[in-house]
């Protein structure tokens, strides 16, 4: 399947006749990258699926106003990240659970998840990541798994580079502690 440049996609999206077609192409182009970004943060596939659909619906609604100050992907990444943050906060609030309880439940679910393909060590790492507060979890994932540069992360998360470095450092130290204790 031919992959269009973002500029071409946005041009097609701007025209009424090709809007749905262009959006379909945008979904196909970015769905996997966004899915894995979301999945890393919420872990559960069903949650990731619901969120991803919501994210694309938001993108559909907001795209006519997209000013192209940032790249299309960075912009969508930012929407996805904010949706995830909001989801994680709501999830804790909805069930009136302490943060740790909600994550413990998710951690147990991970143990029996047929879509989890890692070994024991990877399971421990994921469980350790789940103990992090949402923003630390996002920063750690972006840096550790995606190898994102701090400058790029600063654009996505609207945080300073210094703040991101400190957050990553704290998150990595917590994970190290948990892994050593396990």
């Amino acid at each position: 399947m031919q992959e269009f440049e973002d500029a071409e996609l946005l041009e097609k999206f701007a025209q009424e006749a090709t809007r749905h077609y262009a959006f379909n192409l945008i979904i196909r182009k970015y769905q996997e990258r966004l899915y894995w970004h979301v999945r890393k943060l919420v872990v559960d596939h069903d949650d990731a699926n619901d969120l991803l659909q919501d994210i694309f619906v938001k993108v559909w609604k907001a795209l006519p106003g997209f000013r192209q100050d940032a790249q299309l992907y960075t912009w969508m990444y930012r929407i996805a990240t904010n949706e995830c943050l909001s989801f994680l906060r709501k999830k804790n609030r909805r069930f009136f659970l302490p943060f740790q309880d909600a994550e413990r439940e998710l951690s147990q679910r991970l143990t029996n998840d047929p879509l989890f393909t890692g070994d024991q060590l990877q399971l421990k790492l994921q469980q350790a990541i789940l103990t992090l507060p949402p923003r630390q979890r996002i920063v750690f994932n972006l840096k550790y798994f995606d190898g994102k540069k701090y400058e790029e992360m600063a654009e996505i998360l609207d945080m300073s580079v210094g703040g991101l470095k400190a957050t990553y450092h704290i998150a990595a130290k917590k994970i190290e502690k948990i892994l050593l204790e396990a």
Binding site: I27, Q31, V57, P98, F99, D101, Q126, Y168, A172, E176
Partner: protein, 172 residues
Amino acid sequence: MEKNINNESSLNDPKLGSTSFEVPKGYFEALPSAISDKIAVSPLAESISRPLPFRAPDGYFEQLSLSVQRRISPEGPVRRLFKPVLALSLAAVITGVFFLFRAGDSAHPVPFAMEPLTVAELEDSYLLFDLDEDVLSAAYSAQIAAAADDNEELEDYLIDNESDFSQINIEL
């Protein structure tokens, strides 16, 4: 002698190396980050392979686009809130209640303004077993949102900063 001195001073010139060797573009800008990353990630975490240990269900990415397109189509999502039989029963009950009020107090008609059911009312009602999950979920969300509205920013801050959330809930 003068020539030797000139040579010596040129050895101290920091630009000397740049004439003979080159580093990749942006190398020195990225170096501090690279070093701090090495320090921050523990050797144990470093030893764990980085590909994500998850997979998506088979065929998931082939149908995702269709699911999203269905939601954004001009007709909107097709959601069945009630089963047809249940919907008819509920409509009959509402109509019956409406006429009961009118017959009982025709001289002073009751303004027909339905307040949304509270969670307590829903829980006390036998309708709990017949209502669509979405109705219950919406009622719960509305009540929780109303209760939490003033404290939302505070809660976000606490969650982000890993505070003891259970203590805060008690006070709410």
